[in-house]
């Protein structure tokens, strides 16, 4: 099937990103130019991950999130007056499956935390499967929640886009098109749901950043990314977005056939961290999954952050007593994810 048009995602050269876009691209390019040296140096540092247990959607989530970030040595002064974009997971919201998407109460709590630190906060998402974003917001309950706290929403699927160089270069894409809100954000807060993923094993803070990729350019689903390799594009997107931290909704989670059709599993956890790779590695351990068996984490290890246990400083609760194996689909590509041959589901 031939076509006279070049694949715009791979062939076009970056045009004229704005100043912020240029800064992002330049920083990313510098990182790439410095190559492994920069990345390894960065990854040698330890990262802190905070775990809070006994959490519920009626509890004091604002305090939990705030304490967790401070425990991870997040400096609120760095975002005072700056733009903070909260990025929940609203992949395919359904009234029938609230365990699929980030709970609206957790989003509200994060809004309050960052507002309390005088940041310029917005919430944004580019739902991966639902083209009608308004419908996704209604189904998820997020529309109502945002109205309650008088918070605007950035539709990352349809916003103005600009090219940013692919700083990771694990896949063949030369650049990514990011929405304005992502390029202009001083801090992107990945807010995933803790859940399994039927291709990757699990999905967490890093994979959640698929949602900063605009559907208008990449489709619904964002099939361009799939064709370029899920682990590779997860890695590259994370390498190309600016400063990132994570707040994980691990209260009512999803196991089995995630990320869409899995079943509910209550864990009652909130995870917080300033390095998404370390947060996801800890999440994997809590699910009784070996982090280095998750393809995108294996790629990110020692490049975007640590996954080794001895290089992750645990804050709050220790992860070991909280491990509760998540059911995983009994499929060949998922059977190697844990040390013991157990907790599989067909």
């Amino acid at each position: 099937m031939s076509d006279p048009h070049p694949n715009n995602e791979t062939a076009a050269s970056p045009s004229q990103p704005d100043r912020r876009g240029f800064l992002v691209a330049t920083a990313a390019t510098a990182a790439t130019a410095a190559g492994a040296g920069y990345l390894v140096h960065r990854s040698q540092r330890k990262s802190s991950v905070f775990i809070a247990r006994h959490q519920s959607y009626t509890g004091e989530l604002v305090r939990t999130i705030r304490d967790g970030l401070l425990a991870c040595e997040f400096d609120p002064g760095t975002i005072r007056g700056k733009r903070v974009l909260l990025k929940p997971n609203l992949v395919e919201p359904s009234r029938l499956s609230p365990q699929m998407t980030t709970h609206p109460i957790v989003i509200q709590a994060a809004v309050e935390v960052f507002r309390g630190w005088d940041a310029d906060v917005t919430v944004g998402e580019g739902p991966g499967h639902v083209r009608d974003t308004e419908q996704a917001l209604m189904e998820s309950g997020v529309m109502e929640a945002l109205q309650e706290v008088r918070m605007s929403f950035e539709d990352l699927n349809y916003q103005e886009i600009r090219p940013v160089a692919n700083a990771g270069k694990a896949c063949d894409l030369k650049q990514f098109y990011f929405p304005r809100a992502v390029i202009e954000a001083d801090l992107v807060v990945s807010m995933p749901k803790m859940k399994t993923h039927h291709w990757m094993g699990m999905t967490g803070a890093m994979k959640n950043l698929y949602g900063v990729i605009p559907g208008i350019k990449y489709g619904w689903p964002k099939n361009v990314l799939h064709f370029n390799g899920i682990p590779q594009t997860v890695y590259d997107i994370n390498a190309s977005v600016g400063r990132r931290i994570a707040i994980v909704d691990g209260i009512d989670c999803m196991e089995g056939d995630g990320p869409i059709l899995g079943t509910p599993k209550n864990m009652g956890l909130i995870l917080v961290g300033t390095n998404l790779t370390a947060v996801d590695a800890t999440m994997a351990r809590l699910m009784d999954i070996l982090p280095d068996r998750i393809p995108y984490l294996a790629l990110a290890a020692n490049r975007l952050g640590p996954i080794d246990e001895n290089r992750i400083v645990q804050r709050g609760e220790q992860w070991q007593p909280l491990v509760d194996p998540f059911l995983i689909l009994d499929r060949k590509h998922l059977r190697k994810l844990r040390a013991t041959n157990s907790h599989f589901v067909t």
Binding site: M1, H5, N8
Partner: protein
């Protein structure tokens, strides 16, 4: 939640929206966003529906200016793709031609017939990538429809848009249109409705979504006999109409349900006023959004919507999904 009592009547709202559309047909997906092909195409179609000739001309010409030498229109008007909005541009040009045939082709520079024919040429020249059959997916991955982005698999919404464009522009019998219809039928869920493009993944049936489901029904408007899977999807949409729907989904669902009742002798009026007013009120609360308002404006035309202005098409039983 939105107040169900509008402080203006539906007729007044439609009047206001026509004025708004007439004043500014070149729009993006939201206020402050750059103009994009899909919102401009729907502005053109809505303007044609309400007889707003100058606005329709402005929008149609904007799309012609964006059409590249291969006949394609990029969704971000002057970008290098993706080109899935080409189908909507073709419908907009054809709609204008049907409404004002003389004006549509009087100028060599702005000849809409040439524009939509070139658009269809482009559409028939490319399609989605096939995926080797395996037990991972439930759909027939060898059927070729249209992808969102060149080089990727065919998905349901771009295929429905392209099929609708081909039917509007007189290409209902083209092999690609016939294959597109097969693809849409193949991807309906067993109990009705359609996901964004899959049916089963790793053995699990996916959930139906409003927008792609409705788009499939509209793409089959006036096709006889109506394929059984499309009938099931109509039943799914009829059941869903009782709960709140967002503006864009509602617009397509209204078109789908009007289509479903098109030939019924007892064409009892479907109650659209409540969902329409709810969607209008919700937009008033969250944001004034001309693109979504244009889609609601179009849906308010019900049987007179140009989206449904296609010729009847008869398909052979073997193609109708009744096996």
């Amino acid at each position: 939640m939105p107040n169900q009592d509008m402080d203006v009547t539906l007729a007044d709202w439609i009047d206001q929206q026509q004025k708004r559309l007439n004043a500014q047909p070149i729009i993006g997906y939201a206020r402050g966003e750059p103009a994009a092909a899909e919102p401009v195409a729907f502005a053109a179609i809505s303007a044609s529906a309400y007889g707003l000739k100058e606005a329709a001309i402005e929008a149609c010409r904007c799309l012609i200016q964006a059409q590249n030498r291969h006949g394609a229109v990029s969704v971000n008007l002057h970008d290098q793709g993706p080109f899935w909005a080409t189908s909507l541009a073709a419908i907009a040009w054809r709609t204008f031609e049907q409404k004002w045939p003389d004006a549509a082709n009087e100028s060599a520079k702005w000849r809409y017939r040439d524009a939509y024919r070139r658009a269809i040429d482009f559409l028939t020249g490319f399609g989605g990538e096939k995926i080797e059959p395996n037990d991972t997916f439930g759909h027939d991955s060898q059927l070729v429809g249209w992808p969102w982005v060149q080089g990727t698999h065919s998905w349901l919404e771009p295929t429905a848009m392209a099929l609708l464009a081909m039917r509007h522009c007189g290409y209902a019998d083209h092999p690609r249109a016939i294959e597109a219809a097969e693809l849409l039928i193949d991807r309906q869920l067993p109990d009705g409705g359609a996901n964004y493009g899959n049916t089963f993944v790793l053995g699990q049936e996916l959930r139906p979504h409003l927008l792609p489901s409705a788009m499939c029904v509209v793409a089959f408007h006036r096709v006889t006999p109506r394929p059984e899977p499309i009938k099931a999807t109509i039943r799914y949409l009829q059941n869903e109409l009782n709960r709140p729907m967002a503006a864009i989904s509602l617009s397509w669902v209204m078109h789908a349900l009007v289509s479903a009742a098109w030939d019924e002798e007892d064409r009892s009026e479907i109650e659209f006023e409540w969902p329409l007013r709810s969607a209008i009120n919700r937009l008033r609360l969250i944001e004034e959004n001309p693109h979504r308002q244009n889609l609601l404006l179009l849906a308010a035309k019900t049987r007179e919507s140009p989206l449904l202005n296609v010729e009847p098409h008869r398909i052979a039983p073997a193609e109708s999904g009744v096996h």
